[in-house]
């Protein structure tokens, strides 16, 4: 199972712009590198990252072969109401990892 580090502020005031930071453990094997025997290593990357706030898509990113291992993504949101943030990473070989974090708006 992939490990993740996610930073979401514990609380935010209404209308405040908050920064979300995510880091996930993943080799991001490009598909262009040969192994010791000269055969190409099969591509194994995360292709899509999404962040939903109470089922509403608020951030999405498409990832490609040029992105380094353990992708670090950071983005901002305007906090309007309390709710749950759902982070999902999808990739090759049916890779899928989902994490949720609660956000409290005061």
């Amino acid at each position: 199972m992939a490990r993740t580090l996610i930073r979401v502020p514990a609380t935010a005031t209404r209308g405040e712009v908050i920064e979300i930071r995510t880091l996930i453990q993943h080799p991001m094997e490009t598909g262009y590198r040969p192994d010791a025997a000269g055969r190409l290593l099969v591509r194994d990357i995360i292709t899509r990252f999404t962040c939903h706030f109470d089922n509403r898509l608020v951030f999405e990113a498409m990832l490609h072969s040029a992105i380094a291992a353990n992708p670090y993504l950071t983005f901002t949101l305007r906090a309007e109401a309390s709710g749950v943030l759902t982070f999902a990473w999808e990739g090759d070989h049916d890779f899928r990892h989902v994490e949720t974090r609660a956000l409290t708006v005061t």
Binding site: R3, L5, R7, L23, A68, N70, Y72
Partner: protein, 242 residues
């Protein structure tokens, strides 16, 4: 004071500070990389520390060792091992404890679980100064000899770059003093967490020399010398390096 004038003083200031003792490679990194290392939510090495923490609990290490009691351990290694009559490094100690006391099958020295355990243990000592084991004087002397010995087709010794030319540049890269205070560390070039032995192998291959076998007496002696020379530097595990 103009920026130009201020800049003229910087090298002098650096020289004065540098003369005060060993300088961690952290200090010559870009501010962006330093921020990455400081931020526990952005430092990719923390993923291995978390993995190590889970392994520590799952493998039964926690039955004997409390994580809090491991604070300061990594700052004392390599240490003298009476049974071997010589130095043992942190990786060696963890392997010995796992295999002989916990009866677990051995893990390859640089496998991901072994690095994770090592980074978790070393992380407990983050911020503590390295205090070399006084019983290792003999190993350190042998390590220093290896450090100053010219080797490989390029006929270079460690000291030529990491002592005489430290602070300079090799092509675009900084030449650090080569201190081992952040291992296992996350190196951007590797895109992974790696051990001190892996880093040494990189340098040895770079000068076209035969690398020391990990865990061999020569490798341990060199490691003991490197830790002795870095005495007082804080442990940074998991450090980030370019």
């Amino acid at each position: 004071m103009s920026a130009c004038r201020r800049q003229r003083w910087l090298p002098l200031l650096a020289l004065l500070l540098g003369a005060a003792g060993p300088r961690s490679g952290f200090e010559t990194m870009t501010p962006e990389l330093q921020a990455m290392q400081r931020d526990d939510a952005g430092n990719p090495g923390m993923l291995s520390v978390l993995e190590g923490e889970a392994l520590f609990a799952r493998e039964g290490c926690a039955a004997c060792h409390a994580a809090a009691a491991l604070r300061g351990v990594a700052a004392r290694y390599p240490a003298h091992d009476p049974a071997r009559g010589g130095p043992i490094d942190l990786a060696g100690r963890i392997a010995e404890c796992r295999e002989q006391r916990a009866g677990r099958p051995p893990l390859p020295r640089e496998s991901q679980p072994m690095l994770a355990l090592q980074s978790f243990v070393a992380h407990q000592s983050r911020g503590l100064p390295i205090t070399p084991d006084p019983r290792l004087a003999e190993a350190r002397a042998e390590g220093e000899r290896l450090f100053r010995e010219r080797r490989g087709q390029l006929n270079l010794s460690c000291a030529q770059c990491h002592e005489t030319l430290a602070g300079g540049r090799l092509a675009g890269a900084n030449i650090p003093e080569g201190h081992p205070n952040g291992y296992p560390l996350y190196r951007l070039e590797w895109q992974a967490l790696g051990s001190l032995q892996r880093r040494l192998r990189g340098c040895f291959t770079g000068v076209r020399a035969e690398a020391l076998a990990p865990g061999s007496p020569a490798a341990l002696a060199l490691e003991a010398y490197l830790f002795g020379r870095a005495a007082g530097l804080p442990i940074e595990t998991p450090a980030v390096r370019p």
